[in-house]
């Protein structure tokens, strides 16, 4: 009888509040609650642990429904653009991904293509020396597409496996900056035997604006996956569920700190457990 009392109207409100508090957004939170309700009713779940577990399983199901990041193209070099709005952790994440790939035996090269922001190039160069990998850079204020071009030529000459392109932060609402990114992408596409790739960096503290970011960046780049940064804070990064629900983009990595190895492959089970 006490167990039966676990399913109160307040229970559904609190579960939905937990998802909203995680930045999943109104529509996505409602969807997860709806799915969990079906499961709870059909499986006759009554105890509080079972109820929580039902929600966890629905979050996992939703995250898994966005699919796996696509297989990388077989051609070498690979070129991965690291893109996103200002301050989300692109430069740091590019370094972390480079370090991770290098540990796995990849020969990597960094392209310091943020030629705009003060000390943008220096920051990438410092990270490259910590990873112990080559970096291609030009003068501050130079054409970032030229940096992309040179880095691919250098990669071909040095038999590099993967080029990581650090791009300048840019708000998706700035048409000229999005066009600049599109141009960098086309330069890479022309120069490569295969296709370039792009990882969109999303800050875990971001609210629903993350959906607009993903939508617009997805229009100029082929965004294969998301790197969700700053998950070592108190924010839950739930906007990636809203993004996945609308655009189907999966999360590949999560950033959990400011150090070179503070990057983990995304695990939906771990994520769902942290939520509930």
């Amino acid at each position: 009888a006490a167990a039966r009392k676990a399913i109160t109207p307040e229970f559904w409100t609190e579960a939905e509040d937990a998802l909203i508090a995680a930045d999943a957004g109104v529509a996505c939170s409602a969807r997860i609650v709806e799915n969990a309700k079906k499961r709870i009713i059909s499986e006759g779940i009554r105890d509080i642990e079972g109820l929580k577990d039902a929600f966890r399983r629905e979050v996992v199901a939703m995250l898994e429904s966005f699919g796996e990041p696509p297989e990388p193209p077989p051609e070498r070099p690979r070129v991965i653009f690291i893109a996103g709005v200002n301050g989300v952790g692109k430069t740091t994440t590019a370094a972390k991904i480079g370090f991770l790939l290098k540990e796995k035996g990849n020969k990597i090269l960094f392209a310091a293509a943020d030629t705009f922001r003060a000390a943008g190039i220096e920051q990438m160069e410092m990270w490259a020396s910590r990873v112990v990998a080559p970096v291609v850079s030009h003068q501050a204020g130079g054409d970032p597409a030229a940096v992309v071009y040179d880095s691919i030529e250098s990669a071909k000459a040095k038999s590099i496996d993967t080029v990581l392109v650090d791009t300048a932060g840019r708000l998706h609402t700035k048409k000229n900056l999005m066009e600049e990114l599109g141009k960098m992408w086309r330069v890479a596409d022309r120069q490569l035997p295969g296709r370039p790739e792009a990882i969109l960096v999303i800050d875990a503290t971001t609210g629903q604006n993350g959906v607009s970011q993903a939508r617009i960046f997805g229009e100029v780049l082929d965004v294969s996956s998301i790197a969700l940064t700053k998950m070592d804070g108190s924010a839950k990064g739930g906007v990636v569920m809203a993004i996945g629900m609308e655009l189907g983009i999966p999360v590949a990595y999560i950033g959990v700190g400011e150090g070179i190895s503070d990057l983990k492959p995304f695990d939906p089970e771990q994520y769902a457990t942290a939520l509930f």
């Binding site: 200002n86 003060a118 000390a119 700035k174 629903q208 700053k230 924010a235």
Partner: protein, 291 residues
């Protein structure tokens, strides 16, 4: 927009004398959704909607405006009331140099804001100095030095010193060179990182700032409340700078933070250039949150 959504809710209202509780409940559901979609914290939304409901129920339905317009006006006025109404001016010391300290999460826009503040204050006739107290992030000092060079403002930095020691030495140098305002750029940090929060406490106790500003990204979601309360509790701050307002984030975090801390949003950063800093406009942000 909120207006459109409420028009739908009130469409069935026909010449009744007052807004009934049932009419208003339907409207409150729409308002709650709009505010959550705008990233206002869900607990703040609850309080806000309860408050608005009290004001809306029993409102006479006048002939000159629609019920929807009436409710929108109540919501808008309530929001402008919360967002504004407090001292927005920066505080300066009676004896120079004044110290302004910038704090906040990683990547929120502090270093850029420091340079922008220097430009703004110089335009007001002051003589600023910047202090590079972020000793952790690769090329953070270079970033501030590059900005300082662009705007011709000196940047104080001393190798191999702790953040506290850098700030102490900078203040001595500012006094020596007759600078009347010192702007401290600190490292981005998590509000849950005890050691890093302690560093701010140590800086403040050694060189008490007349003005501490929490720098927050306008796209911050529900977590804005946790961040603001933690910084308030552990470090204390006088006001907020809301950055990246040149994007299309609705900015609900502004309402959340003002609501729970009572601290004013003093400035809005509206771009990446050094001139892109302006006074915070509560009415504009209220319209933006309401979509």
């Amino acid at each position: 927009s909120l207006s459109d959504r409420l028009q739908g809710v009130f469409a069935k209202l026909r010449g009744q004398g007052k807004l009934t509780e049932k009419d208003v409940d339907a409207a409150m559901r729409e308002i709650r959704m709009v505010l959550l979609e705008a990233d206002v914290n869900y607990k703040v939304v609850k309080q806000f909607v309860e408050h608005v409901k009290e004001r809306a129920v029993g409102e006479g339905v006048t002939k000159s405006v629609t019920p929807a317009q009436q409710v929108v006006k109540i919501v808008y006025d309530e929001m402008v009331d919360i967002l504004g109404g407090t001292q927005q001016a920066l505080k300066f010391a009676s004896h120079p140099p004044s110290v302004i300290m910038l704090v906040g999460l990683q990547g929120s826009g502090k270093t850029t804001a420091a340079a922008k503040l220097a430009v703004m204050l110089r335009r007001q006739g002051r003589d600023p100095m910047l202090v590079a107290a972020d000793i952790y992030r690769p090329a953070a000092v270079e970033q501030l030095q590059t900005l300082g060079g662009q705007i011709d403002v000196p940047v104080a930095y001393y190798r191999h010193k702790s953040a506290v020691a850098i700030v102490e030495e900078a203040l001595r140098e500012a006094t020596r060179t007759g600078r009347d305002v010192v702007i401290l750029d600190t490292a981005g940090r998590l509000h849950i990182d005890e050691d890093m929060m302690q560093e701010l406490v140590d800086i403040k106790s050694s060189v008490p700032p007349g003005e501490s500003l929490l720098v927050v990204d306008a796209m911050t979601g529900q977590d804005a409340v946790n961040v603001a309360l933690a910084f308030l509790d552990k470090v204390d701050f006088d006001g907020i700078i809301l950055t990246k307002m040149d994007g299309d984030a609705r900015g609900g975090a502004a309402l959340s933070m003002k609501s729970v801390t009572g601290k004013p949003i003093k400035l809005a950063s509206v771009g990446e250039k050094v001139n892109d800093l302006e006074v915070f406009h509560p009415d504009r942000v209220a319209s933006r949150i309401l979509g």
